[in-house]
Symmetry: C2
Subunit: 245 residues, 2 copies
């Protein structure tokens, strides 16, 4: 498993809880929480949310029974009680995280062009964590069929959402597109190309890189070169200045 960075940290505060010693009746003052029994759905949701958080913060391969259990203050066995196969937890956590991203990415208001601007702008400047997650999942899909399926499904949902925007724009005559789906495919490939560099230590600063998604959108949607790039940059500075949500 490629030693992978992370020099076996071992949470200091973690469950030092006797490694094997069966907790003699002596005053185990560390025994902070006695067992808490929750409703299955609640516990399940809790586990899933925590796993999704780990996926975003540390990567999908860091979703281990132990890691989730530690964060939740329960025993690893409990996690496997809800997710008998760890692999399924990983896939489910990915889906949850990506679903959340999608809600953030697609604005519900505004005309098609404005919604596209929001999409591109958020994609470029606010979703680094998700780019890393996509990269993570795309690679892991090589070994995890469940994840591969989940990816395909989420891609479909994303394309569907973007297709709506594009079709609306075509109806308005803002976009000049032969095949909306073709544009959709191209735009997401640009997004993925952009995301490929998410783990670069020193961010690549070249304008062609930074504005790649916007540029491809212009190309794919028949917009006048520069318009989208400018609107995205404008919205970005405006947001930075005004502190608008």
């Amino acid at each position: 498993m490629v030693s992978s960075g992370e020099p076996r940290a071992a949470q200091p505060g973690g469950n030092g809880a006797a490694a094997g010693v069966p907790q003699s009746a002596s005053g185990g003052s560390e025994r902070v929480s006695s067992r808490v029994r929750k409703q299955p759905e609640e516990r399940r949701a809790e586990i899933l949310t925590e796993a999704a958080r780990i996926a975003l913060e540390e990567g999908l391969e860091r979703i281990t029974l132990r890691a989730v259990a530690d964060r939740l203050g329960v025993r690893p066995g409990l996690i496997s009680h809800y997710f008998p196969a760890a692999e399924d937890l990983v896939a489910a956590a990915f889906v949850l995280a990506i679903t959340g991203e999608r809600e953030h990415l697609f604005s519900v208001s505004g005309d098609p062009l404005e919604r596209l601007v929001v999409f591109v702008q958020r994609m470029q400047f606010e979703e680094e964590g998700f780019s890393r997650l996509w990269l993570n999942a795309r690679h892991l899909a090589r070994f995890t069929p469940a994840l591969a399926d989940a990816i395909e499904e989420q891609e479909g949902l994303d394309r569907g959402r973007l297709a709506e925007v594009i079709e609306a724009g075509c109806a308005d005559g803002v976009f000049t597109v032969e095949d909306p789906f073709e544009a959709c495919v191209r735009i997401f490939m640009a997004v993925d190309g952009f995301g490929s560099y998410a783990n670069d230590p020193a961010p690549f600063e070249h304008a062609a890189y930074v504005h790649f998604v916007a540029d491809v959108c212009e190309w794919a949607l028949g917009l006048t070169p520069g318009t989208l790039r400018e609107r995205v940059a404008h919205r970005y500075t405006q947001q930075a200045d005004g502190g608008i949500l």
Copy 2:
């Protein structure tokens, strides 16, 4: 804890040789391979080549001391003798594999456009394994600084090679480009976007996907839409029919 280490898989033909018993003088006829002593450079190269092979076939995380040693018919300790940190072996194997890819990808003969056609065509149809490897490395770079550096270096070399082609094409007036480097960045981002789907179980068949790299090249290099796509397809069928190298 952790009862004992090493569940001694014991290669069937391998060293059944008593576990711990210091090889009593009896004739061990199973002793298939006596130890072979090779020149350091040779052994090192052998290890590296095998690691690169594993990287391509099974993924970078499958490069483990044991995996490499097993394939080479030596003991794991020997691998760590040459690569004290397994992480460095992984990075070096990646570099070796990618260097090989580059030599294959860039044709040395032909005019700039022809060389671009070869690049795109090989990229699309012959390099799936390398797309997976890039994806693999890009993700792992998140945890392995050595790999992140190696990636950056290899990207630079690739861009350099492509930039030569583009500049030559500009000089010939075949390409219409403001900034060759910009085009270069865009083309590789398209390549990476294309490669993002390398692990998809069912290959995506849409034309916009299949020809994405060619289409982006046309866009980035100011070529007439369709020309490159057609030439790539032509070269592909020609090659398939004639069985040309």
